[in-house]
């Protein structure tokens, strides 16, 4: 039976078919839907981990103990998980282990364009690079075979256009694999220097063996056509090459690392001109050039952004360049905080108090955009806390009184705890605000350790952030409703002025998970003085009209922030 599946859904299906028993992940675009779909298969234990490092450790534990396992994350998640991963390639596995990592060329929803192939090479892990949903499933299953045959965790790399594209997939049955036997193996699984010296030598030998076998691997394949031009490519770039250069011979690398040198040399020798066309870094190109093979690619396409068929046709075939879309006189439409978003009131107050805001990764990063324009820094998960602390230690306690760290509940669980512990331990007098909306918002509403629900929506233990702060020795922990602007302002003022470390929990569920939205507000044009104060919070439901403002009843969820700003009582719930 065929089904139209997202790349991410196909990965989940592949995990099911490959007999995977354990899957752990932290959500992150464009990888989130993998584990959401894995959770629909009762045969697989699945969970949201607090972060990617934990997810990889869980997958490793499962694999070492004899079960096929999966961990999923976006590209920057592998940075967090690099510590266990870089040694897991030394220890190897028992049953197969695959880490699916989704890159985001073009940065649709990410902070950088790092290329996971580079991390695979750095950690000596094999990495596969599929081009469509069918390959997502097939490659994943092959990745488990490689993992077990070569005793190593394997990376399967996606890019946004593969993860979030739907193509047809042929479904197959699950293979039920018994748990492999588990035996204590100190020399392999205890990473003391004496043991790992031997394992490092094994890693070298294994990698050379796989590189040699890669010359015959089914997913590294040559599609012969006109031999005047040959292209080496993989992943999403392969699709664009096939459309832009239908006459060229193509060497498609399904295994991106280690690379099949003999096969590449054979291909290079058989074509007149060799191009290497790949997303992101010149990963293949640099290696191929280092072998003394003449080729070109990145000097024509550059490294930033996505490749598309028309760009490839223009750069390599001399076709007319499409140029950027003409957007003259067309206002941009950046993403915004939703109507009723609890972060809006928080950013309004932080702006009013003219505080330096070290923010973090999540919906609340959108507070950086006009009209709130209220964010100074955003770097990576949890960096808000460390950076605010660094500012304080560099510039003194006065800086701490003008600075806050802002991060969400899920981000706090992911990477905020250690930063906060550092502040408590090293006598910070700063202020940390946990914007607790009871969900992982930006990635599409996943439960997390602080909201009391698991991946299936079943009730579980919830982290008590107040008690946690108290346990760290933090004396000032306040919980406040960000819809109550007056109280919120008072609390932020008091806690930033205090000569001690404070944590403010700004608590209100995400507007999109509130089942029953409130009564929409309307503007009484008799009372409205057209002062524009209510427009300062950047609510998409309010627009200026000749007589004052109008509230869009289809968008307004009745949060009432605008009414709190109005001095004239013009904004009230619909009668």
């Amino acid at each position: 039976m065929k089904k139209l599946l997202l790349g991410n859904e196909a990965i989940a299906r592949g995990a099911y078919e490959a007999g995977v028993r354990v899957s752990s992940a932290y959500p992150g675009t464009p990888s989130t839907e993998i584990n959401e779909n894995v959770a629909t298969y009762p045969e697989i234990y699945s969970e949201w981990a607090p972060n990617e490092k934990v997810a990889v450790e869980v997958a490793l534990g499962a694999a070492v103990s004899g079960a096929r396992s999966l961990a999923c994350m976006k590209h920057v998640g592998l940075n967090v998980a690099a510590d266990p991963f870089f040694t897991a390639t030394y220890t190897g596995v028992n049953a197969g282990m695959v880490v699916v990592v989704a890159d985001d060329p073009g940065m649709h929803s990410s902070q950088n364009e790092q290329d996971t192939r580079m991390l695979a090479r750095a950690s000596h892990a094999p990495i596969l690079d599929p081009s469509n949903s069918q390959e997502c499933k097939d490659f994943l299953k092959l990745a488990y075979d490689i993992s077990e045959k070569y005793d190593t965790p394997v990376i399967l790399r996606l890019t946004t256009r593969i993860a979030h594209a739907r193509t047809l997939v042929e479904l197959e049955d699950r293979i039920e694999l018994p748990l492999r036997e588990y035996n204590r193996d100190i020399k392999k699984f205890v990473s003391m220097p004496a043991n790992m010296i031997g394992r490092h030598l094994y890693v070298e030998e294994r990698e050379a063996r796989l590189a040699n076998d890669a010359n015959k691997l089914s997913i590294n394949k040559i599609e012969w056509a006109d031999r005047t031009v040959g292209v080496i490519t993989s992943g999403a770039a392969y699709n664009y090459v096939k459309e832009a250069m239908p006459n060229a011979s193509v060497l498609k690398l399904g295994l991106a690392y280690p690379m099949p040198r003999k096969l590449i040399e054979e291909f290079a020798n058989a074509v007149d001109t060799l191009y290497v066309i790949e997303d992101m870094e010149p990963f293949y190109e640099d290696a191929i050039k280092s072998w003394g093979i003449k080729c070109s690619g990145k000097e024509l396409t550059g490294v930033q952004g996505e490749l598309f068929a028309r760009k490839i046709a223009a750069k390599f075939q001399g076709a007319e360049e499409a140029g950027p879309m003409n957007t003259q006189g067309i206002p941009a439409r950046p993403p915004v905080l939703c109507p009723g978003c609890p972060h809006r009131g928080l950013y309004h107050i932080l702006g009013k108090l003219k505080l330096t805001v070290c923010s973090d990764i999540g919906c609340y990063t959108l507070g950086a955009l006009p009209p709130l324009s209220g964010v100074d820094t955003c770097v990576c998960m949890g960096a808000s806390i460390g950076m605010a602390h660094g500012m304080e230690k560099a510039r003194g306690a006065m800086q701490a009184k003008k600075t806050v760290a802002v991060l969400g509940d899920s981000t706090f669980c992911h990477s905020g705890l250690t930063g906060l512990l550092n502040m408590a331990y090293n006598r910070s007098v700063g202020t940390v605000i946990v914007a607790d909306n009871s969900i992982t918002g930006m990635t599409g509403h996943q439960n997390n350790p602080a909201n009391g629900y698991d991946i299936h929506g079943e009730p579980t233990t919830a982290l008590d952030i107040v008690k946690l702060c108290e346990a760290m020795g933090i004396n000032n922990v306040r919980v406040v409703d960000p819809f109550d602007l007056k109280e919120l302002e008072k609390v932020v003022r008091e806690e930033t002025e205090r000569d001690e470390l404070s944590v403010i929990i700004s608590r209100r569920p995400c507007a999109l998970i509130v089942k029953q939205p409130g009564v929409p507000f309307v503007c009484d044009s008799e009372k409205c003085r057209n002062c524009g104060l209510c427009m300062k919070i950047g609510c998409p439901a309010i627009r200026k009209i000749e007589t004052g403002v109008a509230v869009d009843p289809t968008q307004c969820v009745g949060c009432g922030l605008c009414a709190q700003l109005c001095h004239f009582g013009a904004l009230n719930p619909e009668a």
Binding site: R166, L168, N239, Y240, A309, I330, P331, V336, P370
Partner: protein, 190 residues
């Protein structure tokens, strides 16, 4: 082969439209590529979804590029204008005549172009429809996406009952009736 681009504002239901189209094409033996947008831009930003279906030539890329679209399905006026370059010379723009103000307009840093629709009409075969009102009459303004599917249906080689079947496969049973009537209203639109 047909290339279709669906544009709108995050949260308008463009993903359901692409899902129905993809399902329909697959049911009828076509190869399909759908490229969706998840994540940040879903929060009220511009969203673009590409649908490519073919029963005569192989498909690889899931992206529709400038000058390649047979149909652009726009859920909002300004997004229709923005998406104009996607259309082939003889392509058709279907636009739901709704205005949703982007934040730079709300904050007053720029103006919503008043001549949005006339600029679209001057440059493309255009079908205008107030799908929100029609959907509202069917039971919920949220079904505007399926009204637009109905308009789009007349330009594609699939029978009406095939569309009904695809909708049934893609929406929750309790919303099926509303969606079918929304589709029929779009299909009957002149």
């Amino acid at each position: 082969m047909y290339n279709i681009v669906i544009v709108g504002v995050g949260g308008q239901g463009t993903l359901l439209a692409s899902k129905i189209l993809g399902q329909l094409a697959m049911n009828n033996g076509y190869d399909v590529r759908v490229s969706e947008v998840h994540g940040m831009s879903q929060r009220g930003g511009s969203v673009v979804t590409y649908v490519r279906i073919s029963n005569d030539q192989p498909l690889y890329s899931s992206i529709v590029e400038q000058g390649q679209a047979d149909i652009v399905l726009a859920f909002e006026n300004l997004e229709a204008l923005r998406a104009l370059p996607y259309l082939k010379a003889d392509g058709t723009m279907v636009v739901n005549t709704q205005e949703i103000l982007p934040m730079p307009v709300i904050t007053g840093s720029t103006k919503y172009p008043e001549d949005c629709l006339s600029r679209v009409e001057a440059n493309a075969n255009t079908i205008k429809i107030n799908a929100v009102d029609i959907a509202h009459e069917c039971g919920t303004y949220r079904a505007a996406n399926v009204v637009l599917m109905g308009v789009c249906a007349k330009m594609l080689p699939f029978a009406e009952d095939e569309w009904h079947k695809a909708i049934e496969q893609c929406v929750k049973p309790k919303f099926l009736e509303i969606n079918i009537s929304a589709f029929d209203r779009g299909y009957a639109y002149k």
